[in-house]
């Protein structure tokens, strides 16, 4: 925790910082994205996929926030919404105290927030050399070609690729790990303050993955970065994250310090998700399936708490009332009626047994 406090102090020394170390770098309020599916003759769609539905969270300066959840829970959509690669239907994003699109222009915001994608090959233009790919963003923002290429070479050296060997190569001449290093260098080329890593190490071999993770930690210290780290690999998230956010069907189920979420998950879904991690200790092996069935269709999510169809503790009240995030456990906030006093759930007061 003191480490994080140190990090917050050092991040706040950035000349671009506005609100000081305690102001969240990013506040997300009521973010909503519904994708229409199947259009009728008049272009109106009857159904929507509620990919991200009313998501709120705050991202502290200098921290790494891990986002976990099963496929289709809205992790990547959240990332794309944060990058404004897709337009949100509702909600606002506040970057260091400034509402994006109002107080700070989209262009200025994008200079400070960059993203690394999962597919290292698809995220590099096959017709551009590595140095041109990295230099593209600075060139767009008016940096001269000579300076942009110089910056690209510096960044290549920073991510562990010798510039004089790699700068002139094409993406297909690199290995997956090398390409992902190039993608990281490309994301850093605009000197961002926030980097969103969307499954950035998921496609790599375990040994390469470890190297890239260590590189990410080094770069974070060196450049005073804040990370949003999206992954389905819980071990990796636990290793790299200061705080963790668990998502289920487009909603936040639980958010809190990584250690306390992993040690004492407060939401029944987080508990089930973490129980699905294979244990290293043979005595602690998972004996019972933590969860049955598939997540419900996000086109028509269940009313009330979205998890009640698979929850062991579901009560009649769970299918009527939508839970809101309430403090629970040591550091967490949980969207569960069992933690919400006065909700009428029969298990209130019996927490800790989840």
């Amino acid at each position: 925790m003191t480490e994080l406090a140190d990090m917050q102090q050092s991040v706040a020394r950035d000349p671009r910082d506005r609100g000081g170390p305690r102001q969240p770098l990013l506040s997300v309020r009521g973010l909503v994205k519904h994708f229409p599916v199947g259009k009728n003759l008049f272009g109106r769609s009857r159904n929507v996929v509620r990919a991200v539905d009313d998501v709120d969270f705050e991202l502290l300066k200098g921290e790494t926030l891990g986002i976990v959840g099963e496929s289709g829970c809205g992790k990547s959509t959240t990332a794309r919404l944060l990058m404004n690669l897709i337009e949100p239907d509702a909600g606002e994003i506040i970057f260091d105290g400034e509402v994006v699109g109002h107080d700070i222009s989209l262009r200025d915001y994008r200079r400070q927030v960059q993203m690394v994608f999962q597919d290292s090959y698809a995220s590099l233009n096959p017709r551009l050399t590595i140095e041109d790919s990295i230099a593209f963003a600075p060139r767009v923002h008016g940096v001269s070609r000579r300076e942009a290429v110089g910056r690209a070479h510096d960044l290549l050296a920073r991510v562990g690729l010798e510039p004089h060997r790699f700068a002139g190569r094409y993406p297909h001449e690199l290995s997956g790990g090398q390409r992902q290093r190039v993608n990281i260098a490309r994301a850093l080329a605009l000197e961002p303050r926030l980097v969103i890593l969307d499954e950035a190490v998921s496609a790599l071999d375990k040994s390469v993955e470890a190297q890239v993770l260590n590189l990410l930690l080094d770069l974070k210290d060196a450049f005073g970065l804040t990370y949003i780290f999206i992954s389905h690999d819980l071990n990796v998230v636990r290793f790299i994250s200061d705080r963790v956010m668990v998502m289920y069907l487009g909603k936040v189920a639980e958010i809190g310090d990584a250690e306390s979420v992993f040690a004492q998950p407060q939401h029944p879904y987080s508990a089930a998700l973490l129980a699905s991690m294979p244990a290293m200790d043979p005595d602690a092996r998972t004996e019972q399936a933590p969860l049955y069935g598939d997540p419900p269709n996000p086109i028509d999510p269940p009313p009330g708490c979205r998890f009640h169809t698979r929850c062991r503790f579901a009560d009649p009240v769970c299918s009527q009332t939508v839970p809101s995030l309430t403090p629970a456990g040591e550091t967490q906030q949980v969207a569960c009626l069992m933690r919400q006093y006065g909700s009428g759930h029969s298990c209130i007061g019996l927490e800790g047994r989840a």
Binding site: R80, V113, M115, S123, R127, Y170
Partner: protein, 296 residues
């Protein structure tokens, strides 16, 4: 001394300069004998067209009633004479000029217009894409030969009108190819990353889309050259394109068709030229397609 030179850092970590993309394409093309053969035939045809006045042994317009339909091998007429006694070899050499022109020009113009339209539709997407592509689809309702004939007939005979109608015939298929490749590229992560860096749509198209889209469209367009030549010949055959006495292979095929029972070998010669040219373009475009595949 020599050992000392080896200690140089450059030797330990040699500077690795990657070949450019086009260098790689050229290298792969050179290794493909069939494609190189087709390319050489095309180049020879082009040279033949350019230097026709120097290559042709006789005046292609000079007719003689006495020498009508001489067979192949007649002294002074190596490929015989046509129905008006004009030297076949000279007419075939001069015919390359108009025939190649009629084959390449419409495709080139349709390539420019069609890729512009298709890339625009593919990159912008949404309702505009639907509007453009459905309009293009209307042209697909007509067979291309029929469309070319109908347009030429409506515009009136003449080389220029034939060019215009052939261009219109080739715009829809090129637009469609351009649109589908652009739609694929547009959804790639590198385009997303470029958008995330705040680049404008025009910059993204210029830097990230064009380079990845133009070569497949170009390969497709080369395969249309042979179609264009055959369609142009067809138009000339119907009297809608080139007019006599201009030498053009399609037109020559038309005027010689009455002689097919008298001297079939001579009558078939323009068809042989059309065949050689179109198959060369087809084989070249096939080879180009595989040479442009980076991972080959």
């Amino acid at each position: 001394m020599a050992v000392g030179a080896l200690d140089n850092k450059n030797v330990i970590a040699p500077i690795q300069v990657s070949d450019g993309y086009w260098k790689g394409v050229l290298r792969r093309l050179m290794r493909d004998p069939v494609t190189m053969g087709a390319l050489i035939v095309i180049l020879l045809l082009v040279l033949m067209a350019i230097f026709a006045p120097y290559l042709a042994p006789a005046d292609p317009f000079k007719s003689s009633m006495l020498r009508r339909l001489r067979p192949i091998g007649t002294p002074g007429f190596p490929l015989g004479a046509d129905e008006l006694g004009r030297d076949m070899l000279s007419r075939l050499i001069f015919g390359a000029r108009l025939s190649l022109f009629m084959g390449v020009t419409p495709v080139l113009m349709a390539f420019v217009i069609g890729s512009g339209l298709g890339i625009f539709a593919g990159y912008v997407g949404g309702a505009l894409n639907t509007a453009i592509m459905r309009t293009i689809d209307v042209f697909y309702a007509f067979p291309s030969v029929l469309l070319a004939v109908a347009l030429s007939g409506a515009l009136g005979a003449g080389i220029f009108n034939a060019l215009v109608s052939l261009t219109i015939v080739f715009i829809p298929p090129i637009t469609r190819v351009a649109e589908s490749v652009t739609t694929q590229v547009r959804n790639r992560d590198y385009v997303e990353a470029a958008r995330a860096s705040g680049a404008s749509g025009l910059t993204i198209v210029r830097v990230h889309v064009l380079g990845n889209v133009l070569s497949p469209i170009f390969v497709y367009a080369t395969s249309l050259v042979s179609v264009s030549m055959i369609l142009a010949s067809g138009l000339s055959f119907l009297g809608l394109g080139v007019r006599p006495p201009e030498p053009e292979w399609g037109l020559m095929l038309n005027t010689l068709r009455t002689a097919i029972y008298v001297n079939p070998l001579v009558a078939a010669l323009p068809g042989v030229m059309i065949f050689i040219t179109s198959i060369s373009f087809n084989m070249f475009s096939d080879g180009l397609r595989s040479a442009m595949d980076v991972r080959a």
